[in-house]
Subunit: 436 residues, 2 copies
């Protein structure tokens, strides 16, 4: 992989500018391994800007031999515009995180072909014929590989950056290396952990049906205490290098493959935030599903698969994480030497189980936070947005909010993932007053 290879030959490359099509074509032509991968004359390459995320430019470039994806950070939030500046350095952190993930979860993240820090630009392999998983879920597609792949990604990237796997010195160096990504963390702190619970200009929801719930959430002090505890945990629990934005729009899939993209929110944070993101987005896919039915019960198989997948995500993650701890737990935490013999092994195993129970509680709480922000906050998702009839959409959203509130405030009622899926099933059958 080349890194800023041309910058010394062409000092222009060291100055940030937003790349437009012609400029990008020239730029890529100058990177031999990218040019070879694309094939043919640069003039023949097709270039299209496809970014549908909230922050960046994304180009798909195709040539005679193959394609690449080019992601360039803008100095502001794309969704909002220049009035909301955002540091270009996020591209640096994304590149660092991709490198970490590629080493630990090979084949589950796109290969990086080139990175130019000054241009805030990453060139990656083109994922084809992958689609954004959220789109597939809206369409009712089953992804039988998903649970196995995402749990491998989660267990390995989280475990191997944790105190269970590395020395305290290595961990502190990692934390410091990502500390500068605080502007991205701040987005999460505001948009997930604060704004949905107060009057904020950018909040929106499906009116008028959710007006009463939105108002109730803004006055629900038990909920505010719970979200504040989660916010503090998000800010000050550097357990592992987390992806930081692991919703189903950051996952690309085919029937037989899963790829995690877009780790620009990466930093050392609580593991439960990544786990919660995956589970929250599956719960939303499940509760949105009724809104996409053309006939009652049409998506029953899909919905059963989603619930099963939610259970598998936690269960397989826990199993894989625990197995890594048992076999590769060479970090400074829980030193093996303090747990000798059979009795020692049993005590250490009890500690591991307690650790996982605590991590599960975090996961339930963060999952709830991720649901609420998608319904009452700034950034919504197509699971709900593509339900054309706003009242039907509001019914799915109200069910999700009901479930999420219980998960956040009454965490003790969710001791197992089975309790979560059971509550999700009950929420699916619940009718809000406005639907009666």
């Amino acid at each position: 992989m080349s890194s800023q290879r041309r910058s010394s030959a062409d000092p222009r490359q060291d100055e940030y500018r937003i790349l437009h099509e012609a400029d990008l074509r020239d730029y890529l032509a100058g990177i031999p391994e990218v040019a070879v991968r694309l094939g043919g004359a640069p003039a023949s390459w097709s270039i299209s800007e496809v970014g549908d995320g909230n922050l960046n430019l994304v180009f798909i470039v195709k040539g005679g031999a193959g394609g690449v994806a080019v992601k360039q950070a803008l100095p502001y939030v794309r969704l909002v515009g220049e009035s909301w500046p955002l540091p270009l350095s996020r591209s640096h952190y994304e590149y660092l995180a991709l490198t970490h993930q590629a080493r630990l979860a090979p084949g589950l993240v796109p290969a990086v072909l080139h990175h130019n820090e000054a241009l805030a630009l990453v060139v990656m392999e083109l994922l084809e014929p992958h689609i954004i998983m959220r789109k597939g879920l809206v369409a009712g597609t089953l992804y039988p590989r998903f649970a196995g792949d995402i749990t491998t990604f989660l267990a390995r990237t989280l475990f191997f950056s944790s105190d269970l796997a590395v020395t305290a010195a290595h961990k502190k160096e990692g934390i410091a290396a990502f500390a500068g990504n605080h502007a991205l963390c701040k987005i999460t702190e505001d948009l997930i952990f604060t704004d949905p619970y107060r009057v904020a200009e950018q909040n929106h929801w499906t009116e008028p049906w959710l007006d009463a719930t939105a108002a109730a959430f803004r006055e629900d002090l038990d909920l505010h205490a719970a979200i504040s505890r989660l916010k503090l945990k998000f800010m000050a629990s550097p357990e592992a290098l987390i992806h930081g934005d692991l919703h189903t729009g950051s996952i690309m899939v085919t029937d037989s493959a899963t790829m995690v993209i877009d780790p620009e929110f990466a930093f050392y944070g609580p593991m439960g935030f990544d786990l919660g993101a995956v589970i929250a987005n599956l719960l939303m896919a499940y509760l949105a599903s009724a809104g996409h039915e053309r006939s009652p019960g049409e998506r029953r198989l899909f919905e059963a698969w989603v619930l099963e997948t939610i259970e598998d995500v936690w269960t397989e993650f826990a199993s894989e994480f625990l197995e890594l701890w048992r076999t590769e737990g060479h970090g400074d935490a829980y030193p093996r030497t303090l747990f000798p013999g059979e009795a020692g092994a049993a005590h250490l195993e009890a500690e591991r189980q307690a650790y996982m129970a605590r991590l599960f509680r975090d996961t339930v709480g963060f999952s709830a936070a991720k649901i609420i922000r998608r319904i009452l906050g700034l950034a919504h998702n197509i699971d709900f947005e593509l339900i054309e009839d706003p009242k039907r959409r509001a019914i799915s959203e109200a069910r999700s909010l009901r479930l999420a509130r219980a998960m956040m405030v009454d965490a003790a009622s969710f001791p197992t993932i089975g309790a979560v899926t059971k509550a999700a099933r009950e929420a699916r059958d619940w009718q809000p007053d406005f639907a009666k």
Copy 2:
């Protein structure tokens, strides 16, 4: 305050070398504000090396007008020698921490007059007629100002570096600024959280009386699980910029003044570690006291004062910390805007009380860890070491170990600081088998 002022004039200053007396005299003569403070001709200054700590050189320099203290880090652990290297950068972190503390707790840390990073050297005001608090405690001296001063130091340095007072971005920058001090953290991780619980060459204890307890602690798996949970908390809970070594040997006192010195172990860690250090060392002063009696009951007044001080340390800390939170809680955690009106204030106050209860549990656990390491680990303290009769010493130590084990393993039995002092009183009256 000058900082490396002479380095451009005299490039020799930029190369680390261990300063000996003549060299130091020349060096200090070249720093105008130090020379003025000392007064008279440099040749007339008295210089004596007085370091009785484990790591560094400390010089007291006195001239006609006044004195200074000079602390220089050695590239190894002084207590052990060159076989145990230790980075000079600890002087940089000590300087950073002193600056932070001086800003937040003015008058409770020595003023820094000069710092030379390359020489790993800090020149400070000379604390006179202060003595190391531990020496005063061994002598049975009461320090009525201590609780008030140390709680102000703790509440202010901890609160104002926490998420309750600062933005998440500021906090992450602080964490990163201290991340490089991991070699000092590693000493704590090994000597406090690991070695006393396993066979380690450097461990020692009062033989033969404590042989059985030392062996029992090495096989006590409940204790090993508890110390491992505390170790993980120490490594991965950057709640605030902590002193990191706040025992009574890092505190200098007079009847009417308290000064905290030696923050070279500073990093972003759990607040309970500093609180636990203070309380642990007072508990040891209390339980060692019987060993210093020349006649039974002679030190009863002192002992009552120590227990009262332990209660005051927690109670006044909690009160001061909570008051800061209520009046200056402008950090990103627990945003005021989510807790409006009277009902909001009541909810937020309940969260604050829960936060303090959690912090108290941490304090009890860390306190226990600090006691055990001083009796079974490498570095002991004069509270016990100056008890000449080894059997009497062992009795005080055994009582301390008994108390510490209960505090660490059975934390639920210590819901209040009153429960801790009650248990300390009971431990004072307990006779180990070898004493019967």
